[in-house]
């Protein structure tokens, strides 16, 4: 049974197909409004989430399907000590596809091995979050009209930010990509990402702490939040949380067609004054996430022979 746990589970060709489907859904929503009629998506969220759960649920409803849901670990049998594998086997009897978020890394893999229906990883701790990357890729594609030849600035928490690692992995499969990695010393991209992805694929990158200095070169600026839940030490979090705050002044030297992205939720790393700037794409990114989730649900249910 095909599941999607990591963005690299999807080939470049499959990503292209998903983006084409998503664009077709945007242009012709009525074509898809009965596509998953009588089918059920189970959203198993063992960790708090607003955007991702609602996005999956909205995606399934817009495909004409239904949703059954667990919205916290406390409200499920996990609180009684049920294993992820047993939960996945049980839910396979009720639903046609699972979207799962879990605080532990690798939980989605365990679920996919036990389930008899497709599992979509909706975030497993700080590890993978492939559907956020799908949202990011569609946003880049729609803003730039192409996936090749651009300089991508990643700014903020590049150490624990799973969306950053997935995006590096995904974009390094295209031609002419350069990365500018902007972070405080303590939150730099882990060495294994640099070694296993960037150096291995000979992708040019620079590391800097200077956001304004890097700004003129960027075609994409991907801001991230310093996540409190990834720190064991509150003092470290407080010290680093306000490292980068994007304001209109800092955009003075930016390109006119820069795309400013953020996986959301933001705390204060992008000033609300930027929301009205036409280069701000983070709410488009949210919408794109729903369309890519629709495309992915369709693909996996088709492959499973369910629709």
């Amino acid at each position: 049974m095909r599941s999607v746990l990591d963005i690299v589970d999807l080939s470049v060709q499959e990503l292209e197909e998903l983006m084409q489907t998503a664009c077709d859904i945007i242009d012709n929503p009525e074509k898809y409004q009965e596509a998953c009629r009588h089918k059920k998506l189970a959203t198993l969220f063992f960790e708090p989430s607003t955007r991702t759960r609602l996005s999956f649920e909205a995606a399934m409803y817009e495909l004409g399907g239904n949703v059954i849901s667990v919205s916290s670990a406390g409200a499920s049998s996990a609180a009684k000590g049920e294993s992820v594998a047993d939960t996945a086997k049980t839910v396979s009897c009720y639903a046609d596809i699972i979207a799962m978020r879990h605080p532990k890394e690798g939980a989605a893999l365990v679920a996919s091995r036990a389930a008899s229906i497709p599992v979509i990883n909706a975030g497993d701790g700080g590890h993978n979050h492939p559907t956020q990357t799908l949202a990011d890729l569609l946003t880049i594609y729609r803003e730039r009209g192409d996936m090749n030849n651009m300089t991508i600035g990643l700014c903020g928490d590049l150490k624990f930010g799973r969306t950053v690692h997935s995006l590096i992995n995904a974009m390094s499969r295209y031609e002419g990509i350069k990365f500018v990695l902007i972070s405080p010393e303590e939150l730099k991209v882990p060495s294994y990402v640099k070694k296993d992805v960037l150096k291995k694929k000979r992708i040019p990158y620079v590391q800097t702490t200077d956001l304004e200095g890097a700004m003129p070169d960027l075609d994409i600026l991907y801001m991230t939040r310093v996540q409190r839940e990834r720190f064991f030490n509150e003092e470290d979090y407080l010290r680093l949380k306000d490292s980068y705050i994007l304001t209109p002044e800092k955009l003075r030297n930016a390109k006119k067609d820069l795309a400013i992205m953020h996986p959301l939720p933001r705390v204060n790393e992008i000033s609300v004054a930027i929301d009205s700037d036409p280069r701000a794409c983070y709410f488009k990114q949210v919408a794109n996430g729903k369309y890519m989730r629709m495309a992915l649900i369709l693909k996996l249910l088709k492959e499973a022979g369910t629709i």
Binding site: S83, K104, G106, A107, D196
Partner: protein, 141 residues
């Protein structure tokens, strides 16, 4: 120094000097009640010094453990006092329940029944990663 030859059993030879005890531990040889000899720092033309383990019983040994600790070792199966088979060891592509994931965020820390599985991701640098969280294993030797 003389160690009696064995009639039916296993000789793990060409072990890198110093790794014999670690192999003894990870192969759980302490749980066996047959005769076992660990010979350390034996003179070797090829290796300078080496360790050897002789097990006086025809029992299955976990070849993956030997390949993980010391892929240059050889395993000889002895039958009726003669070498019946010589096995060359390679680094295994997967390791199951040999080492444990140390990442506190890994699903294996809360799901006690899960096998601890590591995959060889970089043969050149002998890097194994947990299949669940992709954390690099901490070399135990």
């Amino acid at each position: 120094m003389n160690i009696d030859s064995i009639q039916n059993g296993i000789v793990i030879d060409h072990i890198t000097a110093g790794k014999g005890m670690k192999l003894y531990d990870l192969l759980n040889l302490d749980e066996l009640d047959c005769s076992i000899a660990i010979i350390k720092n034996v003179q070797s033309k090829k290796m300078g010094r080496k360790d050897i383990i002789k097990i006086d019983a025809d029992i299955p040994v976990n070849i993956d453990v030997i390949g993980y600790i010391d892929p240059g070792a050889t395993v000889n199966i002895i039958k009726n006092g003669e070498r019946a088979e010589k096995m060359n060891i390679r680094m295994p592509s997967m390791l199951t329940n040999v080492i444990r994931c140390k990442n506190p965020r890994c699903i294996t820390t809360t799901e006690q029944e899960l096998d601890h599985v590591f995959k060889l991701t970089d043969k050149e640098n002998k890097v194994y990663r947990c299949i669940y969280c992709e954390t690099k294993e901490e070399r135990i030797i």
